[in-house]
Amino acid sequence: MELSRRKLFKIAGISAIGLNAKPVLSVFADVHGQTRTPDTKKDHDALTAKQWGLVIDTRKLKTSKDVEPLIEACHKIHNVPELKNERHEIKWIWDEPYQHAFPTKENKYLDDRVKNVPFPVLCNHCEDPPCVRVCPTNATFKRDDGIVLMDFHRCIGCRFCMAACPYGSRSFNFRDPRPFIAETNKKFPTRMKGVVEKCNYCAERLAVGQMPACVEASNGALIFGDLEDPNSEVRKVLKKNYTIRRKQGLGTGPSVYYIV
């Protein structure tokens, strides 16, 4: 068969498009058919829920000193680097004053206590997370138990999720984070440059029956549990106290509640 250069290019071009089309077409097929869910084996100690939620009792947090152990516990086990340059900062949980944690609930005449409360802020593990909606590769996704997770190996670093998150909960590795981790926890992966990361509600600890690290370090100020279970501790606390959430008017459905 004689193949002109022109014909060869044509065939090569069409083949290249074809190779790309297959996975895209399978996604379209999934929308109508059944989605494939991979089998995972659960540890028999694993903690499970329909929708994990967190209640933060800020009455028990007086100064930044009270929040520090939470941050340290989290950042240490998750290999969160300590970068001096503020632009490149990575943080999963940190504290903010009222007007920055709740910028849409401005109040000029805030009482003295709330004015000084360090509000711990973290990923809200939204019911309807905008970050998951915008991710072009499904690198960030929502699990059946409500946890919004990241696949660090799939993330292409487009940072669309960071633009979409109305809480500024996500951090990007602007450089290799590994030299800035004081002590590496071998049980949790470190990240590479160019990917996004955030709080994972300690999914790796829940999987082996442990509570999230911040909850454990909080001396009872943080309560964690299943929001869908009326008998869970979080639901009992929510029933007894008035709570607020960050920017709930946006319809994201944050699963982190604050008792003020």
Binding site: H100, I156, C158, M162, Y167, F172, F174, D176
Partner: protein, 385 residues
């Protein structure tokens, strides 16, 4: 036809070599960025998109703007534009190539870019933007090349290309609409959350794209033996005049809604850009410059006396181009991120390597457009002479 790009005078080759030189320097900076990470740019945890995405957004507009040369010819049978449609199509190719490169250099893990097709998410506007941009690229390559080849052979273009041309017209609208949807559907980003964002993008696109085509036409007439035509340039100038007026009008609509409603989350971004916020105002002179340039553009383009003077017209087009570049580029992106979600004002200033990489991307675009225009102009001269 490619061989036509290989026959040029000293100036042509000098320009090509100069572009390659700039591309080389930019590529070195990019290698540095690959090695270190995006930390060498001015971007931060708060302003996560910067100069790259700003230029990407603007250039999607330039690409879409090319359709303003194609549409009157094919839909309104405006014969005069037959002479210049190829310039619009080839400009679109170069612009879309730059867009794709700007997205690529912005990625933290560019080696994984094919994850977008291996694990596509139909909910993501970025996925759709990739689809429409690559589609528009292919359409223009196929259409531009086929029509030009037919012209060279003094034959009518093949019949199958006509439906593609008709398809390319709404497709041009789609690329900029989808690009606007990247921004305007994000909860909590008050500056972008406006239904008029896509129309705004399109109006500035239809100003910036044809303005650049005019400048290129004037250059081609001066540098080659091909004259794109006085009537063609004047018709394009009227298109730019309408589009830039609509663009400024849309912006004023925005200003009314934002300030009359008095909602802080929407106001603060515009305040930051035009008067500064909490003592930060790096963009204030830029934004006012942009407004002044666009208004100067309107005055010079609407007034027939100034519009008909081609020297003044060139100034007006340059003003419109730079004005919309500031407005839709840096203004649009930085303005959306400052103040941030927690209402802190952390400003963004692009770094030197970031700007160098961006200039190199522009140089690649210029190289593509130079080669394509060289071919197009050579064919035009060949046919007429």
């Amino acid at each position: 036809m490619l061989e036509l790009a290989l026959k040029g005078d000293k100036k042509y080759w000098g320009w090509i070599v100069a572009l390659l030189g700039v591309i080389g320097i930019g590529f070195a900076c990019y290698l540095w960025q690959l090695k270190f990470g995006l930390g060498i740019t001015g971007m931060s945890r708060d302003v996560t998109w910067g100069f790259y995405i700003a230029n990407f957004t603007f250039l999607v507009g330039v690409a879409a703007g090319g359709v303003m040369v194609v549409l009157p010819y094919y839909l309104h049978n405006y014969k005069a534009f037959g002479k210049v449609t190829i310039l619009g199509e080839f400009l679109a190719i170069g612009s879309v190539a730059m867009c794709i490169l700007f997205v690529l250099v912005d990625l933290g893990q560019p080696m994984r870019v094919f994850n977008m097709f291996l694990h596509p998410s139909l909910n993501s506007v970025l996925f759709w933007d990739t689809v429409v941009l690559s589609g528009y690229f292919l359409l223009n390559v196929v259409i531009g090349w086929t029509v030009l080849e037919a012209e060279r052979n003094a034959a009518p273009p093949p019949k199958w290309v006509k439906p593609l041309i008709y398809l390319s017209i709404p497709w041009a609208i789609s690329i900029h609409t989808v690009t606007a949807y990247l921004y305007c559907g994000l909860p909590g980003k008050g500056f972008w959350m406006t239904a008029i964002l896509a129309p705004r993008f399109l109006s500035s696109a239809f100003a910036a794209g044809p303005a650049l085509v005019i400048l290129l036409c004037l250059f081609i007439r001066k540098a080659t033996h091909f004259d794109p035509g006085k009537e063609q340039i004047q018709s394009l100038a009227k298109i730019v005049a309408y589009a830039i007026c609509i663009n400024v009008f849309f912006f004023l609509c925005e200003v009314f809604v934002v300030f009359y409603s008095n909602i802080p989350e929407h106001m603060d971004h515009i305040k930051y850009l035009f008067v500064g916020l909490h003592g930060h105002g790096a963009y204030v002179p830029w934004m006012w410059a942009s407004m002044i340039l666009m208004v100067v553009g309107i005055i010079l383009l609407v007034n027939p006396i100034t519009r008909r003077n081609e020297g003044v017209l060139a100034v007006a087009c340059a003003a419109v181009f730079v004005g919309t570049w500031i407005d839709k580029g840096m203004g649009m992106i930085s303005g959306g991120f400052v103040p941030n979600s927690l209402h802190y004002v952390n400003e963004y200033i692009p770094s030197v390597p970031e700007v160098v990489i961006a200039i190199a991307v522009y140089s690649i675009g210029a190289l593509i457009i130079t080669v394509l225009y060289k071919i197009a102009v050579s064919v035009k001269i060949e046919v007429s002479g």
